[in-house]
């Protein structure tokens, strides 16, 4: 844990001046259901990548997808959007 700062040591107005600092919040632990990709069904349409609210879907060089389980909260939006049903939510 970092040491807590005093009121005059933080920027005024509820501002965070450190871009990307939310990477420190490891949200993967929130997950109850885990999305699992069946690469044989994936058409590389990237709809899941568009819809993922946490940016937890990464694109590989060949266009296939990879889920970042460090941050994926298991919301299931990707599975819901995937029309070839290549993503299933597993307990």
């Amino acid at each position: 844990m970092t040491e807590l700062k005093k009121w005059y040591e933080i920027p005024i107005g509820c501002v965070n001046t450190e871009p990307g600092s939310s990477l420190r919040n490891i949200t993967g632990g929130w997950r109850t259901f885990t999305p699992v990709v069946d690469k044989s069904k994936c058409t590389k349409c990237h709809l899941c990548w568009v819809f993922c609210p946490d940016g937890a879907i990464e694109l590989e060089e060949d266009g296939s997808i990879k889920i970042n389980y460090t941050y994926c909260k298991g919301c299931g939006i990707c599975a819901n959007e995937c029309y070839p049903k290549a993503i299933t939510m597993k307990r």
Partner: protein, 397 residues
């Protein structure tokens, strides 16, 4: 020298907004504020003001949209009253703790129910803890000047707090007076664009309006407490600069015949103008009375108020709002708290008047001074809070 024009207070505010070269204006109509934004929409449509005018779907959105615009560094304005201000309530706190220099005018109006469009201060007084700088004016000219001063004050980097300029609905908002409209070039010289520490900029990404948990939320709130303590001095400086630029100044308060006053009548806004006549008349009858009109209501310039009030024998405090279930009105409880640790202090009486736009006349104010004077002579206050003028209430001491 500006041009002397015959204007209502609402129009005087609109002309001030035009002179301040405001970038974004949001507008949702509500009586008695509507003609402010109506006039501004004319200015924008005629090309007299180069601003983005957003006719928006509610007051909640009106304030939210100017928060967004202010976050990227724009100079912004909106106006409201009554139910509209109540709908803005949660956003008021967001604007102040995000430290955005927004300026808003409020034509004070009663809150429902009963449905009533007329003046009292219930709307803003119910939101007085929102962290905004709150200035109450008593003429169209003062409203015009206060808006210009408000931008200068809000945009100071040692302040960065939103400001609302409050004036009595209808009594002032729709009353026409000669107003010297400040010239745009001079106003812009008075209001140079300043660089703010944190604005949204794609080249320097930041997050605004963060979530803060119990470990940091209090610190962010305290920053606003601290900044508000700088406001009385900052407004005095702005007022001095304003005098140098335009020849007019108002200070943090107005006083009238207070030099030897035993009874000090304390009233805000338009009532204070009427009260001057009442003071003259009771003085003719031999009552040593004076008037104090707070202009800056939040933050309270506590030391100054205390110094002004401690010499009087009786403070007759006039509130144009009800704080339901409290011991008195907001101005009364504020002033009473000034003397909480003092053994020697003036007597205090509170008069709740003019709800729902009921006229507060010279006669009423004379009566208030007389009741207070009688209590002072007795040396004792039996009933500190008088709901003055309600039919069926007897208020003689």
């Amino acid at each position: 020298m500006g041009e002397r024009t015959f204007l209502s207070t609402n129009y005087a505010v609109a002309y001030a907004v035009k002179s301040c070269d405001v970038d974004v204006v949001t507008a949702y109509p509500i009586t008695p504020q509507t003609t402010v934004v109506e006039k501004i929409s004319e200015f924008v449509a005629n090309g007299e003001l180069d601003a983005e005018f957003i006719p928006i779907e509610s007051e909640h959105s009106a304030l939210s949209a100017v928060i967004g615009a202010s976050a990227v560094g724009a100079r912004v304005f909106t106006a409201t009253a009554s139910q509209g201000l109540a709908l803005m309530h949660e956003i008021l706190f967001i604007a102040s703790t995000m430290r955005l220099p927004i300026v808003m005018s409020i034509a004070n109006r009663s809150l429902n129910m009963p449905l009533n469009i007329h003046c009292d201060y219930q709307d803003m007084m119910a939101s007085r803890d929102c962290g905004w700088i709150q200035i109450y004016v008593s003429s169209a000219q003062e409203a015009h000047d206060a808006v210009i001063q408000a931008y200068r004050l809000a945009e100071r980097n040692d302040v960065l707090i939103p400001v609302c300029v409050c004036y009595d609905g209808f009594v002032l908002s729709h009353t026409y007076e000669p107003v010297e409209v400040r010239e745009r070039d001079e106003v812009l010289k008075f209001l140079p664009r300043t660089e703010r520490p944190n604005v949204l900029d794609p080249h320097k990404p930041i997050t605004m309006g963060v979530m803060a948990l119990p470990d940091y939320a209090y610190e962010f709130k305290y920053q606003l407490v601290d900044a508000l303590t700088r406001v009385p001095k900052a407004l005095e400086e702005v007022d001095k600069e304003y005098k140098a630029a335009f020849g007019t100044s108002y200070g943090l308060y107005e006083e009238y015949r207070t030099e030897d006053a035993e009874v000090l009548l304390i009233a805000m806004g338009a009532i204070a103008s009427t009260a001057k006549i009442a003071i003259d008349k009771v003085r003719e009858m031999g009552v040593k009375a004076g008037l104090f009109r707070p202009r800056l209501y939040r933050p309270i310039p506590a030391e100054l108020w205390k110094e002004k009030f401690e010499r009087a024998g009786m403070l007759a405090i006039v509130d144009r709002t009800i704080s339901f279930g409290a011991i008195g009105g907001p101005l009364f409880t504020d002033i009473a708290s000034l003397f909480a640790n003092e053994t020697e202090r003036p007597l205090l009486m509170n008069f709740i008047v003019g709800l729902g736009g009921r006229d507060v006349t010279v006669k009423d104010l004379m009566e208030i001074v007389k009741i207070s004077h009688k209590a002072l002579r007795k040396g004792r206050v039996e009933r500190p809070c008088v709901y003055y003028g309600v039919r069926g209430i007897e208020y003689g001491e």
